[in-house]
Amino acid sequence: MTRYIVRRLLSLPLLLLGIVSIAFLISHFTQGDPLSSIVSERQMDDEQAVAAAKARWGLDKSLPEQYLVYVGNLLTGDLGISFRTKQPVSQDLLERLPATLELVIAAMLFGSLTGIALGVVAARFRDRAADHAARLWALTGSSTPVFWSGLILLYIFSVKLGWVPGPGRLDARMSPPDGITGFLTIDALLAGDTALFWDAVHHLILPALVLGWTVMGIVSRLVRASMLDVLNQDYIVAARARGAGELRVLLNHALRNALVPTLTIIGFTFAYLITGAVLTEAIFSWTGIGSYAVDAARGLDYPAIMGVTIVGGAAFLLTNLMTDIAYAFADPRIRLS
């Protein structure tokens, strides 16, 4: 197992280089002029200003030269300066990644736990009212676009009922805590500011529910299907015959085995959400990686596009690895080599 993990970890840089190379080519062959993020409309007709901007941002070099410079800088940990924010991309990512992780972790916790619970209930009461209700709820979650559910839930629970605050991570009147972890909830607690903590939690509720609902839909359907398979196995019949309680049969014998395929989905969903929570972040003005990626793409902000690609690629590779390892723990029959 240790050799397997080391080998996989060693292959990560090579895989990342492949991802970086492909992303570099695709972004640079896209139509459009990255100078639109750098040079104002009036200055675009000033040849000297355009030449100065190209030289400053390295756009006067040939594509192979730009690639070599980028990869060279990357090896030293320099992701470049964003054309749009004018800050180092690494700083932008460090500021935004915790926001996305805070949202995604909350959404994954909500989505996975409720999804598993719903899946178990649906399988246990197959073709009965609870099963139909759970499946309908799951289907609605996985098929409702977040831009719709987000806006509707925001309108109902924030504007109409006033139960939760509006968009953003924190009330704009409050000063954010010192960024130790970047997770507002944790930083607020570390600062001992409970009002700030609860404000951050309340801002987190609605976006996490919206994003988690999709996860819940996927997870519950998968758990239900796996549970139905498992519940027909001989060892379940044997457990029941030995007089094991229903809860024990469901949780200890059935769910543990049914969870193996679900772990893969949860792992991939987590990685997907890190870069894929774009719409939720946009609707809730959540300054995370997703909205950063969209703005970068729209403005042809090459350094930012590459930075997000590297983070997204690393997230997929690492969660893939962790899922494989979790597989081995969940099912001792699986041996990694």
């Binding site: 139509q31 639109s36 200003a49 006033g162 139960w163 968009p167 609860w198």
Partner: protein, 534 residues
């Protein structure tokens, strides 16, 4: 045992604090109290916080509140008022201007604002070649005659120079502080100036506010400048919260999380509860236009007659109704209503019969096919896709078939500056109060952006030989002569029919009832030192 007991106590305290948090009123926003920060919801379109580089609507707000200009613009949006310069004089032909600085003016670090800072700021604006460098075009020298007297000498007459120095981009920087942090005003500043990153986290101006914090795509936080004495700053802390769309801005305003929303479109404004909010709809100086490029690659024949036919085919009232629900105004020429030279201009009207007659006269009685790319975005409350579709519909009535292609702004800008786009739509907002900027951007004379975009090099017939001469005359004159010259120039642009303004969307100023002093400024968007709370 003792440690366990201590841990239990700590846990209890934490739990009690958390419970107190739950039960407290801190959970949900309530109306802001007088000592809390005032929150403005708007899109942060910032491309830099360096006055020599930034060029955007939010930059206008930031610069005008942090970096004082020599001259201000009065509440009537047309009268020039003293700011850093208490008085000024121009020579007879308006090619040299002398500014006398307020001896009591101080930067936020307490040091005095001096003539050397003005000279350094103007030189840097010119030499960094950033967003608003064009404002220093024609400036030959900026000389500090003494600590409080500056003399600016231009290459030729420009009666509009005083308006230019009221633009937020010309705000004066503390040269010593900026230079110590990598800024330079030297001739090679475009490559040697290294201060842009410093300006993202610091400010060095003499305006009523200073930068407290900036997080891109999140918030721009201001705090009052204690050294500012020109007016009383009633709200010490102001936050511009990045809020992309009008609906979300309205939601934040209604929930009390924001005090002012600045980019609500007229349709969304109708949904706001006016018993709790102040909602005012006022005319703006922004406009959207159709642009025709006879010299663009693949363009059909687009003679002046055909361009005029396009102008007559457009349903201006319908466009205003369709795009902003009637909350807008017609703009006869590509100069905003109310700017010099626009009084008495003929209002555009749809005349389909006249359009068909002109097309027949031009030899295309059955119309033609034309390609149109446009930026797929929302500008000043107008969805450009809707606008383009309405134009397509109007032109189809005279047999002109428009093939629409929406593009990302960066792609559109690449194409419009490259081979050109035969027919497109775009938008414009003033950089300061003055009409020359419109001639210099839209006028059909050599070197202007739209002369090039319309394909002037491929089709020199679009050159209007009178424009350059008339503009020179306008810049050299004052009073009625200036007004007349700009009027003639505006008439010329209407006749050229390269740029056809179609709608000037109204501006919605929405705020909570407690906010006072909110108004729209033509130069600066929003002047924060005028804001207050009751």
């Amino acid at each position: 045992m003792g440690r366990q007991h201590h841990l239990s106590l700590t846990s209890l305290k934490l739990a009690a604090a958390l419970c107190a948090g739950v039960s407290s009123a801190a959970l949900l926003p309530t109306a802001a109290s007088a000592d809390e920060a005032l929150v403005i919801a708007r899109q942060l379109d910032i491309n830099s916080l360096d006055p020599a580089r930034g060029f955007c609507d939010t930059c206008q707000i930031y610069f005008s509140n942090v970096y004082e200009t020599l001259i201000g613009l009065g509440k009537d949006n047309s009268t020039l008022t003293p700011r850093l310069a208490t008085k000024w004089e121009a020579n007879a032909d308006q090619s040299q201007f002398t500014f006398h600085l307020d001896p009591d003016a101080k930067f936020s670090d307490g040091s005095p604002v001096e003539a050397k800072d003005v000279a350094w700021t103007f030189d840097r604006l010119k030499n960094v070649k950033g967003g608003a460098a064009f404002m220093m075009d024609g400036v030959n020298s900026v000389e500090a005659k003494d600590a409080h007297t500056v003399v600016v000498t231009l290459a030729g007459p420009s009666s509009e120079f005083l308006n230019i120095v009221s633009a937020p981009y010309t705000g004066i920087i503390n040269s010593d502080v900026a230079a110590a942090n990598g800024a330079t005003a030297a001739a090679d500043a475009e490559t040697t100036d290294k201060a842009e990153t410093w300006f993202l986290a610091n400010s060095a101006g003499s305006g009523p506010y200073q930068l407290a914090n900036y997080k891109p795509d999140d918030e721009l936080r201001f705090k009052a400048n204690p050294e500012y004495k020109r007016s009383k700053v009633a709200v010490p802390d102001i936050v511009i919260k990045h809020t992309k769309d009008a609906v979300t801005q309205a939601q934040l305003l209604e929930s009390g999380e924001a005090d002012i929303a600045m980019q609500i479109d007229p349709d969304t404004a109708k949904t706001l509860k006016t018993d709790k909010l102040n909602v005012e709809t006022i005319p703006s100086y922004n406009f959207l236009y159709v642009a025709i490029a006879p010299g663009a690659k693949g363009a059909p024949k687009l003679t002046k007659e055909i361009r005029q036919a396009i102008g007559y085919a457009l349903d201006y009232d319908g466009i205003i109704e369709f795009t902003v629900g009637g909350a807008g105004a017609k703009t006869p020429a590509p100069i905003p209503n109310g700017f010099p030279g626009t009084a008495g201009l003929p209002e555009p009207k749809q005349d389909v019969a006249k359009a068909k007659e002109l097309l027949a006269k031009a030899g295309v009685p059955d119309g033609f096919e034309i390609n149109s790319e446009f930026p797929s975005m929302n500008s000043y409350g107008v969805d450009l896709s809707l606008l383009a579709q309405k134009i397509q519909q109007d032109l189809s009535k005279v047999g002109i078939k428009v093939n629409l292609t929406p593009q990302e702004f960066s792609v559109w800008r690449d194409h419009v500056r490259g081979d050109g786009i035969p027919l497109t739509v775009s938008f414009y907002a003033p950089d300061y109060y003055g009409s020359a900027q419109y001639l210099q951007f839209f006028g059909m004379m050599e070197g202007t952006p739209w002369f090039n975009r319309a394909g002037g090099k491929n089709d020199p017939s679009i050159l209007n030989p009178q424009t350059a001469e008339l503009l020179k005359k306008a810049l050299a004159s004052g009073g009625d002569d200036k007004e007349k010259a700009y009027h003639e120039l505006a008439m010329g642009m209407i006749d050229d029919r390269i740029i056809i303004p179609v709608v000037s969307p109204n501006l919605v100023l929405a705020s909570s009832k407690s906010v006072t002093g909110l108004r729209y400024s033509a130069c600066c968007n929003l002047l924060m030192d005028e804001l207050g709370r009751q």
